[in-house]
Symmetry: C2
Subunit: 650 residues, 2 copies
């Protein structure tokens, strides 16, 4: 029977002090959160208007303005508040906390007598509340508000926000469910939020309500078609009968392929995995395994991006992974991190943590400019000057990060993920029957982890990851001779590694490695040090030959990082570059005022030219040259130009 | 000063009796024209409704029905009538001629008192005549009707249709021009039609009116923007200010890149070239040379297809030639044939005739099913099962020819081109100062050509082209010792050839070859025979490395024919096939009940498979196999499946 192997890690268990990630956490704390606060307050010129806080003022009767923004504009504020809550666990900021409390007070003032909370419907169409779950995203906004409230409660201990959102959750619970009104959300999110609320409050009705929304999806008659028939108005012109788009083609336990809007899919699957662990639902777990496999084994970009098409921001078909007309929304990669993390709680297996790492270091980080002030919604693997962002098919593939978006789901989503990174690095299984306590190191991030394992232990991690493969864990148990297992992921990208304990290299033959985790059970004493050294060459990656778009191409990876070639380093017309089967490939530490410290990759290859004819029976001429690749997450930080990840092999 | 080098060839000068083309001409004559007649009369079930003839009945007051169809539905009937006219030059058909005369009578009855002829505006919106030239295509329909009337006059000698269309042309001439109402057509066609009408009637005002429409395009203020401002209604939601779309970005003599809707562009450029020859306009000729180069050297598919994007059915940017989301409308390739033919009249250069041949044998022929009963509008170079015709980006790329279209421009366009093929095969320059008479063999098509060159001559051509490279010309002058030059194209695809005269191989060093034409001037006697033998191996074609979509790929050609691999011959997942740099490639004559007699190509290569993982640092496994390619024009004639032209080279 499936059950959670791990406890949930609270953020304060692990303090990040890392040469790679601390930069991003501080950036979010010091730059991005204040920047987004200004935007949410409409204080920045030359930026897509937010109006999110003003909408709450209007709903609270404190302003006379007009509602502005998406029907789900509330969720931008929610995700910002969630990020603020996490940021307070990184370091106190009483002024920010006070301002956030004021916003929370305003949210409370915008709440209706009956607990209902949604500024769009309160201000604009009160008569249409709860009538269009397919398009209008009231449950989605509620979910994000609940997540923010739980985060606020966990970070500050204050119940102010949690109480507001419990009233809203109760309002929803009073309305929807078996024997009450039928309903499921168009955009999933409420399901995973209610599970978090359940754990924060201990109130089982939130678990049951989450389960209701999950169980009801895909059952006959189709809820969205029924809903559309029951009302005489539409919000968008979306097709309510598209069952793939809405992950609605079968009851969730019978689903076997990831479909439709990829962010929604990830949020649903995350909740499904979480619920499976909570209620020990083997059938649901098996569905999660199938859906994870469908996502990552047939529909995922090398960068951990998902969603091949702008139409519906959606999955298409297996192995259809265009690099240029791609969607790969930042939020979808974040959702994939959520999903992988929940799967990992049920089964410590690197097939989950490898994907989590791949998305984090590539498709998520690429969503934010290195200075924290611009954001990508779409994360292409190829940018073509003159087409990307310009031609109709490519209009969504913007070659330079905009400052903000009318639909600004991605930027605050990056903020909340990066500030809560602690929850993704470690896992612990403590006090379980017939097993010793185990702590899991899922990601290699420098910092200090404290756990109750073996009666209490502090583990200090030092690493130069992802730039080198050295990781050192120094163990300090509360009492000498603590008996617990330290389980460390051996990443899938690594072919060769050394493990040493207190300076002594361990015999590879004797290592206990299961599902990609090295298990080291012993009696730990203060100062015990486990060192890992992962060999980290630049590796050529090949796509499955079924992927049309990458036929004949290779991509370069080093450790968890995908690399790309950019026009700034290699001149225009990147399609004319060829990597040779025997190219010399080197890695080179470098530093740059814009890109920071990073390791570049150089390779010898060919640049093709021809006599100018469009077609010829004479092969193009080839000139040897040296080309330079940079980590994918850094692309688009310099002046605008072409970029590509997959390089034809000659 | 530019001027026409060639006279226009009337269709009866050359009687086609060819092992390749006669099949298609007879197919159009015996199958396609009757089939299309039934459709135009709404006599076929399960076919997209035409209503074209019924619209004329309604406009003529002979029926009470409702107008149905596109605003330019009249043009379908016009193109059919044009094809009927040409078909009568292939062989008499009194019944068909009589039925066509009845249709022409009906057209006359639908004409308004003032000469105006357009069933849409006559029936539906008489108050909106001539107010929306951008969208409503009255001038376009008039142009097709004029072409049909000229063809009818030339084929039958009867003026019935010509008189009707002269009245319409006069109506247009009375309205538009300098000092009259300003106007240019949204969809070019009237320009080239008026030039044909000018030559058929000798009336110079039609030449001047054509010149007015050509000269006015691209001048300030922008006509379409002015027009849009002047009325309070729109027909479609098209953007009248898109100057690229409408070939309106500069006066035509200053234009240097082919833009916008590719059919419209071709029709404009055809008229520009024709006009340049008529009025000896060097500046216009130079513009035509630039636009031809822009089209064929940077924006043309290997098949002679043009128009990379469904959005606007249009050109995009140089070297952007996606094989799968392509447009490459059949009509656009036909337009390219027209354009190349007109250029050839001004300058006998194989750069024009090679393109004409390429489009004819590939991108035009592919528009029609081999049985003549289904038609492609879009001619892709790659078809992907599950995506093509299904996913939003690919919905226009239908993998199987439909029977008819709501917008049915292409099928009758194929019909009129194939029935008038005689006009494209030969050229003649007779009675010009300081040069001997010259006849040009542009295309290798079996049949009998009669010319006034050298006082009169008959040239009989026998050839197995395109399946083999042998061509024999047997000359029979009206009187012995006729002095004229026989100029024969040496095709650009040919690297090696033999020429013999009366059985004697001519020394390659002594041959006079200019711009790809072999000029043979002599005194010809009866029975003189010129034989050409073109070496016709299967050739690997490489795209310019700037073409992203073909990076690392080759395409196979043999003679003028582009080849493709189809799923029916090679199994699914064509993207997993690799051709080797040293693959053995053979040609094989074959016969098939569906595809007819043709030469297939076989090559050894690899099929890649892998362990099932989506990405791996292990290259895919490769198994040797033999693959089979068929001529591109035959693709999609068997059961539905994948197809691709460009094959990755391993």
């Amino acid at each position: 029977m499936v059950k959670k192997q791990e406890h949930e890690i609270t953020l304060t268990n692990f303090r990040v002090e890392d040469s790679f990630w601390s930069y991003f956490q501080n950036l979010v704390k010091d730059v991005v959160i204040p920047y987004q606060e200004q935007i949410l307050n409409d204080e920045l010129p030359d930026v897509e208007k937010s109006h999110a806080i003003e909408n709450f003022r209007i709903a609270a009767g404190k302003s006379d303005g007009e509602y502005y923004g998406m029907v789900f504009q509330d969720s931008d504020l929610a995700k910002w508040l969630e990020a603020v809550a996490y940021s307070l666990t990184l370091g106190p900021n009483p002024e920010l906390e006070q301002r956030a409390d004021q916003v929370i007070e305003l949210i409370g003032q915008a709440q209706q007598e009956d607990g209902y909370l949604n500024t769009y419907f309160t201000v604009k169409e009160p008569e249409h509340r709860w009538q269009n779950l397919h398009d209008c995203h009231e449950l989605y906004c509620a979910g994000h508000m609940i997540e923010a409230a739980v985060a606020w409660y966990e970070a500050t201990g204050k119940r102010n926000f949690l109480d507001i959102m419990c009233r809203m959750a109760d309002h929803i619970d009073n309305r929807f469910g078996k024997g009450k009104v039928r309903g499921i959300p168009g955009h999933e999110e409420i399901e995973l939020a209610l599970l978090r609320l359940y754990r924060a409050t201990g109130e089982e009705r939130y678990l049951r309500l989450s389960q209701y929304f999950i169980d009801e999806r895909g059952t006959a008659p189709d809820y969205f078609e029924e809903e559309e028939k029951s009302r005489d108005w539409k919000f968008w012109s979306q097709d309510a009968s598209d069952k793939n788009y809405a992950q609605n083609y079968a009851p969730v336990r019978e689903q076997d392929h990831a479909t439709g809007h990829s962010v929604r899919a990830m949020y649903l699957y995350t909740a499904m995995a979480d619920l499976a662990g909570e209620i020990h639902d083997e059938e649901l777990w098996q569905a999660c395994l199938r859906l994870f496999d469908s996502t990552v084994s047939r529909q995922m970009y090398l960068t951990g991006g998902i969603g091949s098409s702008v139409h519906g921001e959606a999955f298409t078909t297996d192995y259809d992974l265009p690099n240029d007309t791609i969607y790969a929304e930042t939020c979808a990669s974040i959702g994939l991190v959520f999903f992988a993390r929940r799967m990992l709680e049920l089964q410590p297996d690197r097939k989950f943590s490898d994907v989590m790492e791949r998305a984090l270091y590539n498709g998520v980080l690429s969503g934010m400019q290195h200075d924290g002030k611009r954001f990508f919604y779409v994360n292409p693997l190829e940018v073509i000057p003159g087409l990307s962002g310009v031609q109709p098919e490519y209009r969504h593939v913007i070659p330079k990060r905009p400052k903000w978006y009318a639909c600004a789901c991605c930027p605050p989503n990056v903020s909340r993920l990066l500030t809560s990174l602690s929850a993704y690095a470690w896992g612990e299984a403590i006090g379980q029957e017939n097993t010793t306590d185990t702590v899991y190191s899922h990601l290699y991030i420098g910092g200090t982890f404290t756990s109750k394992a073996g009666g209490g232990v502090t583990i200090r991690t030092e690493t130069g990851y992802p730039w080198n493969g050295g990781v050192a864990y120094t163990v300090t148990p509360d009492a000498p001779g603590a008996d617990f297992t330290l389980a460390v992921r051996i990443p899938g990208w690594c072919k060769d590694f050394l493990v040493s304990l207190n300076g002594q290299v361990l015999d590879a033959q004797t290592l206990e490695i299961r599902q990609g985790y090295l298990y080291l059970n012993r009696s730990w004493n203060s100062g015990d040090q486990l060192k890992l050294s992962f060999d980290m060459p630049v590796v050529r990656m090949y796509a499955n030959p079924l992927v049309r778009e990458n036929a004949g191409c290779v991509a370069l990876m080093r450790g968890p990082l995908v690399y790309c070639i950019e026009q700034q380093d290699n001149g225009p017309d990147l399609q004319t570059i060829r990597i040779l089967k025997d190219s010399v490939i080197t890695a080179e530490e470098t530093s740059d005022p814009v890109l920071g410290d990073y390791t570049a990759v150089k390779f010898t290859g060919l640049r093709l030219t021809c006599d100018g004819s469009l077609y010829s029976d004479v092969p193009p001429k080839a000139e040897e040259a040296v080309f330079r690749a940079v980590p994918y997450y850094l692309w688009g930080n310099r002046e605008e130009g072409g970029m590509r990840v997959w390089i034809p092999e000659a």
